[in-house]
Point group: C2
Chain length 200, copies 2
């Protein structure tokens, strides 16, 4: 549209490409930024431009890092004999925030999904198997999402690591979330909650 300067139009376009942000929201965000100080907007642009700069996969856990070995893997206070396998770095962050787990991670960067054309080779599964084979691992915790793809990926990984001896393989518990409501829990969750019931 001719009524709108190119800069504004392009910014709206870029915002509207983001997931969950439609045309209207993109316009609102852009005009919100237009009302902000120029330096604030420029800083945002600058930060965004450099987002992927210098990022590499940690050679150990495949977490995104600015160093060859990420800070978690380098932390000597953490137990390097336990590996928690997660789908995405976001899951790792969520677990870190819970501040419960003090071992190492392995980030797969996705799940096996034939519909989206993602096979095991697109994921960091070979790296995991390699890492486990090197030895020194006592437990592997599978912390993938309880979705069909997550389950399939867990099953795929199990096939490779189960035969390895002396390694305990676990998965995180499924059940009613804390603060959740039995009444609103779906059937699958309730089923899993019963199956996984614990004796007092």
């Amino acid at each position: 549209m001719s009524a709108i300067p190119k800069n504004i139009e392009k910014t709206i376009e870029e915002f509207s490409k983001l997931p969950g942000i439609g045309q209207k929201s993109a316009e609102r965000l852009t005009f919100y930024l237009l009302r902000k100080k120029t330096e604030d907007v420029e800083r945002f642009g600058h930060v965004l431009k450099g987002l992927k700069e210098g990022l590499v996969y940690c050679q150990n856990c495949q977490n995104l890092s600015t160093k060859e070995t990420c800070e978690i893997c380098e932390d000597l206070n953490r137990d390097s004999s336990v590996i928690c396998v997660v789908e995405e770095m976001l899951d790792l962050l969520a677990l870190e925030k819970a501040n419960e787990y003090k071992g190492h991670y392995h980030v797969l960067h996705g799940v096996i999904s034939p519909i989206e054309g993602v096979g095991p080779d697109e994921l960091k599964i070979a790296e995991l198997v390699e890492r486990v084979k090197k030895g020194g691992i006592t437990e592997i915790i599978l912390a993938l999402n309880p979705s069909i793809e997550g389950e399939a990926t867990s099953a795929y990984i199990l096939r490779y690591i189960k035969p390895l001896e002396n390694i305990k393989i676990t998965r995180i518990a499924r059940g009613i979330p804390i603060g959740g409501d039995l009444e609103y829990a779906d059937r699958q969750t309730l089923k899993r909650a019963f199956e996984g019931r614990v004796e007092y």
Copy 2:
């Protein structure tokens, strides 16, 4: 958090400053971009950085433009004797998309809001009065939002332009929106719809 590279942390922070985007959404958007091609992310950053570059207020209608006089004001096919007063440029864009109005605009860049510390002097009201006094205007259409602030701002503007002779002053109609449902309309809207009823 040490687990997360600075670039990523900063991007999440910038996204979470945007209206309607919380911490979780900011994380999701950032990790969505991390999965995109570097060039795509860099382009977004570049576009954002230059968002406010070279933008000025149109000397005529106060619309944001890259030129002293915006394209709408320069368009000789539009009726320069009619001014439609809007709060924000987003409103102008919405009206332009409706493709109904073919006159000029005047963008106030806000509404009078004592709570938010916005007085008439923060808005482009003086510029409007100045513009009208110059002459050549036959009609002023007030197209502010039907909110308390919008009404107050309209009333304030009226005080200044009502005394000027030979200018028709109108406001856009209020009523049930097209596709809207009487059943779900609020009382004020219904009241206005009755007051503004039109004879067949």
